[in-house]
């Protein structure tokens, strides 16, 4: 069992930050475990979601921002829907990965690379371009066509466009990203 000295290592500022960004009250969690029981990703998590809530109450910033679970949460909303205290747990998971990003952590790097490739595509074209996203993912992870077996299944279906679908307002979309980065820096 892991022993945490919460007096020595509790980061109260971190708790306040998560509460402010998620609009949730962390102390309301009474550790019933309902969220973990319904979480479909518990088998793949390094820390189950109810334990994430407990570590959060104990202000264990580094432990949380470096864990894998926050990158594997699918925002399925099961925890949020079933929490008896109406805590929006999925929103807290989202906020934890926002903070992890800002501090430069990504314990599941490939997941982050995929999401980044997706957003780059949207920033460039205004819409997501599936083949372009895969190509960018392959280039950044060095994984050669991770879904090699799927090519013969999907290509003959003529569903994957070989060109993006740019929109007229793609500059407006790029501006959203630019302004967002600007206010995030200030």
């Amino acid at each position: 069992m892991e022993v945490v000295d919460i007096h020595a290592s509790c980061d109260a500022e971190f708790i306040a930050e998560v509460e402010a960004e998620s609009s949730q009250r962390i102390a309301e969690c009474y550790q019933c475990g309902n969220c973990t029981a319904g979480c479909p990703f518990t088998f793949a998590y390094d820390i189950p979601v109810s334990q994430i809530m407990r570590l959060l109450q104990a202000g264990q910033k580094r432990r949380l921002l470096t864990c894998k679970s926050i990158w594997l949460c699918a925002t399925c909303e099961s925890c949020t829907t079933r929490c008896p205290n109406n805590i929006d747990v999925a929103r807290i998971m989202d906020v934890l990965r926002h903070l992890a990003r800002r501090e430069g952590y990504a314990a599941e790097r490939n997941v982050k690379v995929f999401w980044d490739a997706f957003l780059d595509s949207v920033e460039k074209h205004g819409r997501s371009f599936e083949l372009g996203i895969l190509a960018a993912y392959i280039a950044k992870t060095g994984r050669f066509w991770p879904d090699l077996g799927l090519g013969p299944k999907i290509l003959p279906k003529g569903k994957l466009g070989f060109k993006p679908h740019p929109i007229q307002g793609k500059k407006q979309v790029a501006e959203i990203f630019r302004r967002f980065r600007e206010i995030s820096r200030s």
């Binding site: 957003l119 997501s128 279906k157």
Partner: protein
């Protein structure tokens, strides 16, 4: 005729093109006019909200602003992921402070509060099973056994989605029963299929999808029916990956519910897009015909 602003979503142009085609055809056949959101852009999907909630709301909100040019009562979308993003953005913008911040990221601010709904909700509430039944030649899908799979976010969280039941949804069940199909009691209606981890962690996606496919097969379903492009991709395109994890063969066609409505309405083949499915749907229709023979 009711007119709705229609948001197809990016996958509707690619991997879920058959969902888009059949949705448009079914809406037209049932008297729902769709006006595409002019020059719509990506709603941000999953990746945007994992980066920041202001960014994801702004990406979704650009489309809400674009829809304001249309004379419509609601904006509808077939995709649950787009639905969640659009609804979440609208909901969070009820906070004036947040709305101001979102509008600052946009060229064109959001002014109206347009209701956002799924196509499924509109088909069930504004058309309804009785009206649908009146347009059908009898019970065209009698004999077909379906496992209805809703996915995790179509109805969750309930305070936001405000439609159907969040643990035991029945909207698709009712539509499929109206077509004459038999709906098996599928216990994993709202379990997660592995969502968008198919590329970065396909081991996880395969394991979660395998559980759904196994259960559907063990319940004797001839096919699964879904309302989500991502679920569909994991269950149909990635069915082979799920099979290797499960260590057993799957041969389960996975339909979009709009495709089955289109089949029942006898719409033309190119309005249904059955040839776009990776797992051939023939076995399901064969089983259906066999079940009808005395």
């Amino acid at each position: 005729m009711s007119v709705y602003a229609y948001y197809p979503g990016c996958s509707g142009l690619g991997t879920s093109i058959e969902y888009d085609i059949s949705t448009r055809a079914v809406c037209q056949a049932l008297g729902l006019a769709l006006a595409d959101v002019p020059d719509w852009s990506c709603c941000g999907a999953t990746p945007a909200h994992t980066v920041d909630h202001l960014l994801s709301s702004a990406l979704a909100a650009r489309n809400l602003a674009q829809a304001e040019d249309l004379d419509v009562q609601a904006l509808i979308t077939p995709c649950p992921s787009c639905l969640t993003n659009l609804k979440t953005a609208m909901h969070r913008m009820s906070d004036r402070d947040f709305r101001g911040k979102v509008n600052k990221l946009l060229d064109r601010p959001v002014r109206r509060d347009l209701p956002v709904k799924s196509v499924l909700q509109v088909l069930v509430e504004d058309v309804g099973p009785e009206e649908l039944a009146s347009r059908l030649p009898g019970k065209p899908l009698a004999g077909l056994k379906l496992a209805p799979y809703y996915g995790c976010i179509m109805n969750r969280p309930p305070e936001l989605m405000r439609f159907d039941d969040h643990e035991h949804p029945t909207a698709m069940d009712r539509l499929m029963q109206t077509l004459g199909a038999e709906v098996v009691p599928f216990p994993l209606k709202v379990e997660c299929c592995g969502a968008s981890f198919g590329v970065a962690r396909k081991d996880i996606t395969a394991r979660l999808s395998a559980k759904l496919l196994e259960t559907a097969q063990d319940l004797g379903a001839h096919a699964m029916v879904t309302a989500c492009p991502l679920c569909h991709m994991n269950l149909d395109l990635r069915q082979g990956q799920a099979a290797s994890v499960a260590g057993r063969q799957f041969r389960i066609p996975v339909f979009y519910y709009t495709q089955l409505i289109a089949v029942a309405l006898r719409l033309p083949q190119d309005a249904i897009g059955l040839s776009k499915l990776c797992v051939s749907p023939n076995s399901a229709f064969k089983a259906m015909r066999k079940a009808l023979r005395p």
